[in-house]
């Protein structure tokens, strides 16, 4: 047996260091190297590029509207996931589940209202963000494609809002989706077909509730995350936040 042979005792003693190194991807260094590496390896300190133009940091130029929309989306994901523990997409149970969340579940009413108000706010802030981009001319070259991504994000936000509207399964929800799906049916040629696929039938019923639920909690959020990733990536690729060129 050579000295390099791996004993059980030795491997247990190495375990904490192995775990630490698997996370940090490097061996222990000098204290200075450690401090430097803590900065270099921190994703949260690198959300912004190394160099940021002073105008990009001026709050009054963007008002942080895009980031507010993004943070609202995070609130919606967190509160939505928690709401899912108490919600069943069934015509028999959905309304009662919603009422239970309001009156029975601890903090249920807080979660429901946080989800509801954040949803309204996200639509509003996405709209305000687009206004800001429009009025500052930030949609112009080389940022045209990011504007298109942004329009897609607005559409997905509206679709999330629309699909979520049915889930409480009250009168407001029922008639809103009846009217909404009939608006879709006005499309020439394919309108009726689209409405049928959307509702999974001829009227707003169990199939429609289930379809809207799946779209709301799975498909549309995934699309949003992908689009947001591309949107953020393109901001940096297109030269950072747009700003006055002369300052």
């Amino acid at each position: 047996m050579s000295e390099a042979a791996y004993s059980l005792k030795e491997s247990i003693r190495q375990l904490p260091r192995n775990i630490k190194e698997s996370v940090s991807r490097r061996g222990a260094g000098t204290p200075d190297q450690e401090r430097a590496a803590a900065i270099f390896g921190n994703i949260f300190l690198h959300l912004h590029p190394v160099r940021v133009h002073v105008n990009s940091l001026r709050l009054s130029y963007t008002f942080g509207l895009g980031l507010i929309s993004f943070f609202l989306f995070l609130i919606l994901v967190a509160s939505g996931v928690l709401l899912m523990f108490y919600y069943t997409p069934s015509t028999q149970l959905a309304y009662r589940n919603m009422k239970d969340l309001e009156y029975v579940v601890s903090y249920g009413v807080v979660l429901r209202n946080a989800h509801r108000w954040s949803a309204h706010a996200m639509v509003a802030f996405a709209f305000l963000h687009m206004c800001r981009v429009f009025y500052t001319g930030s949609y112009k070259a080389p940022r045209e494609f990011n504007w298109v991504i942004g329009v897609c994000l607005l559409l997905v936000t509206l679709l999330l809002s629309f699909t979520g509207y049915l889930l409480p399964w009250d009168q407001l929800a029922f008639w809103a989706i009846t009217v909404g799906s009939n608006i879709a049916a006005y499309m020439p040629w394919i309108g009726e077909k689209v409405r049928f696929l959307m509702l999974g039938g001829n009227e707003v019923g169990q199939m429609a509730l289930l379809r809207f639920y799946v779209l709301h909690v799975a498909l549309l959020p995934v699309i949003t995350v992908i689009l947001v990733a591309v949107h953020f990536w393109r901001i940096r690729k297109d030269g950072g936040l747009s700003r006055p060129l002369n300052d």
């Binding site: 008639w175 009846t178 009217v179 799906s181 009939n182 608006i183 049928f196 696929l197 999974g200 039938g201 001829n202 009227e203 019923g205 169990q206 199939m207």
Partner: protein, 172 residues
């Protein structure tokens, strides 16, 4: 020596023609694969659409009984709850009129004792005459009448899957 030269020329010539042939081949293979891809993806999308289109609907039947004749005296207008229709019996016969607004599908309300307006939509204010013709508001079409008949037990049956385009009345 001359043999070698001619062999060399032949290879050069072959190379040029080979490249042309290769280009043609590449073009063909490219077109073939793009066509296959488009066909495959297209077929997959069509099949996804087929999957999403339910073959069985657990919805109430569009053909349903509304009750005995005696339930509907002459001059009555009776709304059938949950079906979105109204049975109207006048001196010259029956008709079943849809109460689903032709604008965006809201449930419209029959208006009592009005010589002009028979129906009013609470959503966007469309008004309809007694026979269902649009009188005002955003509704694009008249309210349809549905086919109806008496079954062998003398019960009135409405078939909401068939629109009575000629607006004929059921005479009993």
């Amino acid at each position: 020596m001359s043999f070698e030269n001619s062999a060399c020329a032949a290879t050069l010539h072959d190379k040029a023609s080979d490249e042309a042939v290769n280009g043609d081949r590449r073009d063909f293979v490219k077109k073939l694969s793009v066509t296959t891809l488009v066909l495959g993806v297209g077929a997959a999308i069509v099949q996804c659409g087929r999957f999403l289109q339910p073959n069985v609907l657990y919805e109430p039947s569009r053909v349903f009984k509304v009750g005995e004749l005696s339930k509907f005296p002459i001059g009555s207008r009776i709304v059938i709850e949950g079906r979105g229709i109204e049975i109207v019996r006048e001196r010259d016969g029956f008709h079943a009129i849809s109460l689903v607004c032709t604008h965006l599908g809201c449930l419209i309300k029959p208006v009592e004792n009005d010589p002009e307006i028979g129906y009013l939509c609470p959503c966007h204010g469309s008004t309809f005459a007694h026979k269902g013709e649009v009188q005002g508001g955003p509704a694009p079409k008249d309210l349809p009448w549905y086919e109806m008949y008496l079954d062998h037990t003398g019960t009135l049956v409405v078939d909401a899957s068939k629109v009575n385009h000629k607006r004929t009345k059921l005479v009993v």
